[in-house]
Amino acid sequence: MMTDEQSKSAKAARRVWLGGVVAAGGWRNRAAAGLLVLDSVAAIGFAAGLAFGLTSLPQGLRATLPWLVLGLASAWLRGACAGLAARVGAGAARRAKARLRDRIVRATLALPLGTGPTTGALMTAAVDNVETLDGYVARFLPARGAMIGSAPILLAAALASPIAAGILAGTMVPFILVMILAGGAAADEAARQFTALTRLGALFADRIRMLPLVLVFQAEAAETARLAVAADDLRRRTMAVLRIAFLSSAGLEFFAALSVALVAVYAGFNLLGLLPGFVTEHLDLGRAFFVLALAPEFYAPLRRLAATYHDRQAAETVADGLRTIEAAAPVPGTIAPLLPGPPRIRFEQVTVRYAGEDRPALAGLDLDVAPGQIVALLGPSGAGKTTALNLLLGLAPLSQGEVTIDGARLSDLGVITGSIAWMGQVPTIMPGSIADNIGLARPGATMEEIAAVADKAGLGPLLSARGLDTLLDERGSGLSGGERQRIALARALLKPAPVLLLDEPTAHVDEAAEDALIAAIADAARGRTTLIATHSARLASIADTIIRLEAA
């Protein structure tokens, strides 16, 4: 539960952040608001045309005509302003969204593994939540800026009938009170609704990813029920938000209608001469009608703003989430220069403990790898072999101890991934051809180089059957575990880096092919400082040193 202090500073921070996002829209923000103010001014012209056209009606069409023309021209202007404001507002929103999306994407791509929100939630954030700001920039901000449009209307009304203007202004006070009260209540509900929406999206994305297993375990009914619960939760939250939003807009409508009614009744009684003596104002039809025609327009800017209220609530809730994501992203470190040759890597009493974990993932590791040496890390799963490799990649936090590369501390060097060729436990396949997937390691590699490296990695049988141009989907279906691993090895071979990190490279490969793979790995490791995390004694046999890790 946040204290008042905290929530105030949170609100201020959010305002600043939103301001930064919106600024990308540039001059368009102000232009859209300006157009809407012009719309209000045109309304005055229309009211005048209508009122004085009416009063000059008995004198025949010729007398009325100029007023009718004024009225029609004003109507045209109003339409044009509304249309242009919509276009310009949309343009501002487009720019703001593009900038923000880029910021969020860069931030989320740098998040370390195993921490923070799921991919589904991040996707919702980067695409849908950024989209939510569209209404905020395109509609809410111009509407808010155009609120001052009520002022010229009030002035014009005051010119015709100060008392009627006073009535209009008077009804506004209780209205604003109602808006403020409803606004506070709505914010809480909006936050809860947003959580439910995110949860639903993430749940669904996760279960779709797991689809084969849901089918195989015949858990369809259970998982559908779980989704139904989440969907119903979303419904209730959304309804709660909407109820409050509608209540505040009902308040607005009430006061708007009331103001028209009061002005009409006042004007009528005034014209009838039935008002008490202290009312010194005497209206004629023209002025009375003018004021009556203006009355709805007085509230129009406020009604327009109220119609965008939901956009604002949604944006504010989303802003908090997006801000948190941006803040959680690690600050990009300085990029270290490429290492000139295979370095000497030392781990001194290195301990890695992830945030929120009791057990350290790696405890007190000591390691000394001479340049060009191959070191195998053996140990039970959970002993931290992968973590040791992730440390060099900058994907794991260094809690204690020191890692030095050629004598320089890793924390001083910064990001050394430019000098690392790496192959993980589970390679990621991108939708694209096999050649594309391998060629990621070194953009600009020629097909011959890719083919050579693919051959070295043992992809020969696959390629002769299907070719380098075979398209793969994101699940890599159609490839066996061993084949996928070989594509990852080909990637590692393609990049000419002085450090080679391999994480269980032969885990999914049968014994017969393992030998060929081991030979390829030994070949690739020549002239590179190599760290291999593995269980295979045969693979470890190519290493100069074998380090056994114990579980912490």
Binding site: F46, L57, P58, T64, G71, A75, R78, G79, A82, G83, A86, G91, R94, K97, D102, R106, G114, T118, L122, M123, A126, V127, G201, A202, F204, A205, D206, I208, R209, L211, P212, L213, L215, F217, A219, A222, L227, A231, L234, R235, M239, F246, F254, V260, A264, L271, G273, L285, T417, G424, T428, A441, P461, D473, R475, G481, H508, V509, D510, E511
Partner: protein, 550 residues
């Protein structure tokens, strides 16, 4: 033949018909009272002006009570009506959506495996969240035609006494607005295309992002962060372009909404030259409000494009083709497996190993057995019948499966284990399964034990731990046959030996048969038979169970 989506929507409409009817009634009341409010006000003022000018006697004779009260009443009716319409309308719509989402999920699960598995994560998320949201318009907007009709009716009721010319003009303008919308509609075969383009761009963007986010580690290793962000930005620009094209009509719609009422008022006024002043005032303001009553209707068209596209996508997802061939739904239990390639007869309770070079079809065989794949390989018989004729439900009943990639839910250890027992299970059984998978100590060491969060796809656990959790999950499913794909890959020798011996103990304890794919030797030592799949050559080697110890 109506599409499944339309059937679902129609069913929901029927379900919510009370609420929707009420919403429509309220909407009609709102527009009617708007028209009457302003019209009456205009008439009142003008009448009062004339009466006032005519002298105090006429003034006091002027019946002001009725109009004054009427005006206030109309104001209240309008406000209350708006609130009721929105609350009731949205409530009905949201209830329908909350039922549409599980129906969609169910349909995706019931689709043939090839279709279901071909759906990308980005696509699926888009459909469940955004497309279903778009369908809300189908419910909420249903009251706008009623509101528009009521506005026109009320307008005519006011205007006809004012003079047929004014009434005719207003009607003419309504017609003009209608024609404009019709033109835009046929152009919005273009609007629908644009909406389709937006949805496609959105799906592509999400898919691209999901793919690249999943590869974050790899992107870091190969310094592809900027490249990835750039690719996503490209797709993002595509989406923004499509959106700009789709919202172009919104500008015109705003123009129409701004211009129409004003033009109507001026026209009505011009045509009321011959009538009395109060009636002229009534005509002008009444005409304006009539056209304003159409505003909701006009706005409804702005979302037509994206609505049509969302519905098309949902329809595609909901279309479940009828099951093929006559389905077998009963079979002798426990079933014998007869394979054609490699030729083998596997009796219930046997432990069979499956080896072969990668790519030789071991995983394919397992996938066929659990109905994830329908082709690829020789004939398979289960309980004496060809599995090609089996319903998927019957087929899957016979097997518990632990696949090679051990996919885990983003949830707790318990959530993951309970996937295998949808009807729930005692903790004791869960711990037993964990022990059999040699994972119980690790789970006990976790801060919340069974309720510890494992991260997305088990990211908080190491590779070996994920694999063992997948094993424990498969163990929990009571089935005559256990299918294991590389159960000990990525485990060190000691853990591997433990898993293998406990597996063997479990299998003999439960009398369960097992088919174990492994390229590693230790799991094969507990097998009664080992089948070898090779390039063309298939043979099986009998292994002496006794020689492997008890």
């Amino acid at each position: 033949m109506t599409s499944p989506l339309r059937t679902l929507i129609a069913a929901e409409r029927q379900r919510q018909r009370g609420g929707l009817a009420l919403a429509a009634l309220c909407a009609a009341a709102v527009t009617t009272s708007s028209v009457l409010l302003l019209g009456l006000s205009g008439w009142f003022i003008t009448g009062a002006a004339l009466a006032g000018l005519a002298g105090p006697v006429a003034a006091s004779a002027f019946n002001f009570m009725l109009p004054a009260v009427g005006i206030r009443l109309l104001a209240i009716v309008r406000t209350g009506g708006r609130y009721a319409e929105r609350v009731v309308g949205h409530d009905a719509a949201l209830r329908a959506l909350a039922r549409l989402r599980p129906a969609l999920f169910r349909a995706i699960l019931a689709a043939p495996p090839a279709t279901a598995l071909a759906m990308t994560v980005g696509d699926a998320s888009m459909r469940m969240v955004q497309d279903v949201d778009a369908v809300e318009a189908r419910f909420v907007r249903r009251s706008t035609p009623w509101a528009a009709a009521a506005a026109v009716a009320a307008g005519m009721a006011l205007l006809v006494p004012a003079g047929t010319a004014a009434a005719g003009a207003t009607l003419g303008l309504v017609g003009l607005v209608g024609l404009t919308i019709l033109a835009a509609w046929s152009l919005s075969a273009l609007g629908r295309e644009q909406g389709r383009a937006v949805q496609q761009a959105n799906a592509k963007l999400k898919q691209e992002y999901a793919t690249l986010a999943a590869a974050a580690a790899e992107l870091r290793a190969y310094g592809l962060g900027d490249w990835a962000a750039g690719r996503i930005a490209e797709h993002g620009a595509g989406l923004l372009d499509a959106q700009a094209r789709a919202t172009a009509w919104g500008g015109w719609s705003a123009l129409l909404q701004g211009l129409a009422p004003g033009a109507a008022a001026i026209a009505a006024l011009a045509l009321s030259v011959q009538t009395t002043l109060p009636l002229a005032a009534l005509a002008a303001l009444g005409a304006a409000m009539t056209l304003e009553g159409l505003a909701g209707f006009i706005r409804g068209f702005e979302v037509r494009g994206s609505l049509a596209e969302s519905e098309a996508r949902l329809e595609a997802a909901l279309a479940v083709p009828p099951p093929a061939a006559p389905a077998v739904s009963v079979m002798r239990h426990p079933p014998r497996i007869i394979l054609a390639d490699p030729a083998a007869v596997l009796s219930p309770g046997m432990i069979v190993g499956l080896t072969g070079p990668s790519g030789s079809g071991k995983t394919t065989l397992l996938e066929r057995l659990v109905g994830l794949r329908s082709h690829g390989g020789g004939r398979i018989e289960l309980g004496g019948l060809d599995i090609a004729g089996f319903t998927l439900a019957l087929l899957r009943q016979c097997f518990a499966y632990a696949p090679q990639d051990a996919a885990l839910l983003a949830g707790t250890v318990r959530d993951n284990l309970l996937l295998a027992c949808p009807r729930g299970e005692e903790d004791a059984m869960l711990w037993q399964a964990l022990q059999d998978a040699a994972l119980d100590d690790r789970v006990r060491a976790l801060p919340d034990g069974l309720d510890s969060w494992v991260g997305e796809n088990g990211a908080r656990l190491s590779g070996g731990e994920r694999r063992r959790l997948g094993l424990a999950r498969a163990y929990l499913r009571p089935a005559p046959w256990l299918l294991l794909d590389e159960p000990t890959a990525g485990l060190d020798a000691a853990t591997e030996a433990l898993v293998v011996s406990r597996l063997r103990a479990r299998l003999s304890r439960l009398g369960q048969g097992a088919l174990i794919v492994s390229h590693r030797a230790p799991p094969l030592t507990i097998c009664d038979r080992v089948l070898s799949l090779g390039a063309g050559q298939s043979h099986d080697a009998m292994r002496n169970r006794g020689a492997c110890g008890t």
